[in-house]
């Protein structure tokens, strides 16, 4: 007997969760990069 509810949960929910986690990760990494680049630029400006 195929448990359709579980199949939908694993295939749909699982793929969706993977996308969600990785999208959040990419946003956080992008934000960290942004802050770091600004910090580096400011430090460079101050040293001039």
């Amino acid at each position: 007997m195929i448990d359709w509810e579980l199949v939908a949960k694993i295939a749909g929910g699982g793929f969706g969760s993977t996308l969600l986690v990785l999208v959040i990760l990419s946003i956080v990494i992008w934000l960290i990069g942004l802050v770091m680049q600004r910090r580096a630029r400011r430090a460079k400006d101050e040293s001039k």
């Binding site: 199949v7 694993i10 295939a11 699982g14 969760s17 993977t18 990785l22 990494i29 960290i32 990069g33």
Partner: protein
């Protein structure tokens, strides 16, 4: 003399073991794994040697290795390889520590400098879920077995071994062998799918060499951020993600160089040959020669094809909204298989446009794919 106990199945497996050693040694296909797996296959298919003893199983059920300790070895109830399996793989220690070594050897800078890589790494997991569906709906596999067959599409060894040991240990031999063999075959499997799904014009898209340098601080924050985010959303992926990121942290801090060098060399080498030998020992004829193995071989091709397609389609969708287009070949590298998939993107890119150097662009989704597969393994661990 063991001739009396030799079956046609054993003879076939001895040939397969020899073939694996040939592929590793002569053709240099994943030699670090295929050579130990090949010798493991040969060792367990010589009757009466007693190196790996299987527990009795009901007819039609794939047997699993008998468990026990030193006392059982002395009594002849289990063999040396049973012990390696029990303490190394059954406990999940070996795949997790291998991931630590891989983390120490990995450079995530390409993914950090282009965060959209994580999206392509995630969509390349499409093959995992499609093959899970097919495997389960055919009725050939239980739900536990189907997730393990699906994870082959992630093209990452340790998550595949980790999940299979926990959910379907009876299939560990064929699944691990197929996963590592297909990883070696990525340069053959991916190009036809890439050419089918992309136009020559798309493959010619020129991408400027990456200029942004990733600072040391960013590289130190990265593994910590991954551990916290992935761990909070999918706690069950933390054994894998935690080990991978811990290994990476050792190499990026700049103050634990000795630890990183150890983790990425002798440490990971010893674990890898123990893994290979033990996995090979999981392939006696009675376990390996059954219809499920053939199904796994077929389904894995589907998993790789859809994984490649998932990455390519994500880039093609992203390009609809972008002014500066991305070459869809780098999406195909989202199917982990580090660094083979990235090399395929580089080679196919250069064939279409000799000016293109896509390797570093492709390494981003490639490394992100390793994290994504670990997250998927964690999701399967918690859902099934």
């Amino acid at each position: 003399m063991a001739f009396g106990g030799l079956t046609w199945g054993n003879i076939l497996m001895l040939l397969i073991g020899g073939g694996l050693i040939y592929l590793g040694a002569a053709k240099k296909m994943e030699p670090i794994l295929l050579v130990p797996i090949g010798i493991g296959v040969i060792l367990v298919n010589i009757p009466f040697a007693g190196l790996m003893i299987y527990a009795p199983a009901e007819p039609g059920v794939i047997p699993v290795p008998a468990s026990g300790g030193l006392k059982e070895i002395a009594e002849g109830k289990i063999g040396l390889l049973n012990l390696l399996y029990h303490y190394g793989l059954g406990s999940e220690i070996i795949p997790l520590l291998i991931f630590l070594g891989i983390g120490a050897l990995s450079d995530f800078s390409p993914a950090i400098s282009r965060p959209s890589s994580f999206l392509f790494g995630a969509t390349a997991q499409l093959g995992v879920f499609i093959v899970f569906l097919i495997a389960y709906l055919t009725g050939w596999f239980t739900i536990n077995e189907a997730v393990c067959v699906g994870i082959i599409g992630g093209s990452d060894g340790p998550p595949t071994v980790y999940l299979t040991v926990a959910k379907a240990p009876q299939l560990l031999g064929p699944i691990t062998l197929v996963a590592y063999s297909y990883m070696a075959l990525v340069p053959i499997l991916q190009p036809p799918v890439i050419r089918l799904l992309t136009t020559k014009k798309e493959r010619q898209i020129y991408m400027k060499p990456q200029t942004r340098e990733v600072s040391r601080l960013e590289r130190i924050i990265f593994p910590i951020a991954v551990i916290v985010i992935a761990g909070l959303f999918v706690p069950a992926c933390l054994p894998l993600v935690g080990m991978l990121m811990f290994g990476n942290l050792l190499s990026v801090t700049g103050v634990t160089d000795r630890l990183a060098a150890s983790a990425g060399s002798v440490f990971v080498d010893v674990l890898t040959f123990l893994l290979g030998l033990t996995v090979g020992a999981l392939m006696p004829a009675i376990v390996f020669l059954n219809p499920k193995t053939l199904m796994i071989i077929g389904l894995s091709v589907v998993a790789f094809a859809f994984g490649t397609a998932g990455g390519i389609w994500a880039v093609q969708i992203a390009n609809l909204f972008r002014k500066e287009k991305i070459n869809p070949l780098i999406g195909a590298a989202g199917v982990s298989a580090v660094p083979m998939a990235a090399r395929v993107a580089q080679l196919e890119g250069q064939k279409a446009n000799p000016r293109n150097f896509l390797l570093m662009h492709a390494m981003g989704p490639n490394m992100a794919g390793a994290i994504a597969t670990s997250v998927v393994a964690g999701i399967f661990m918690s859902m099934v």
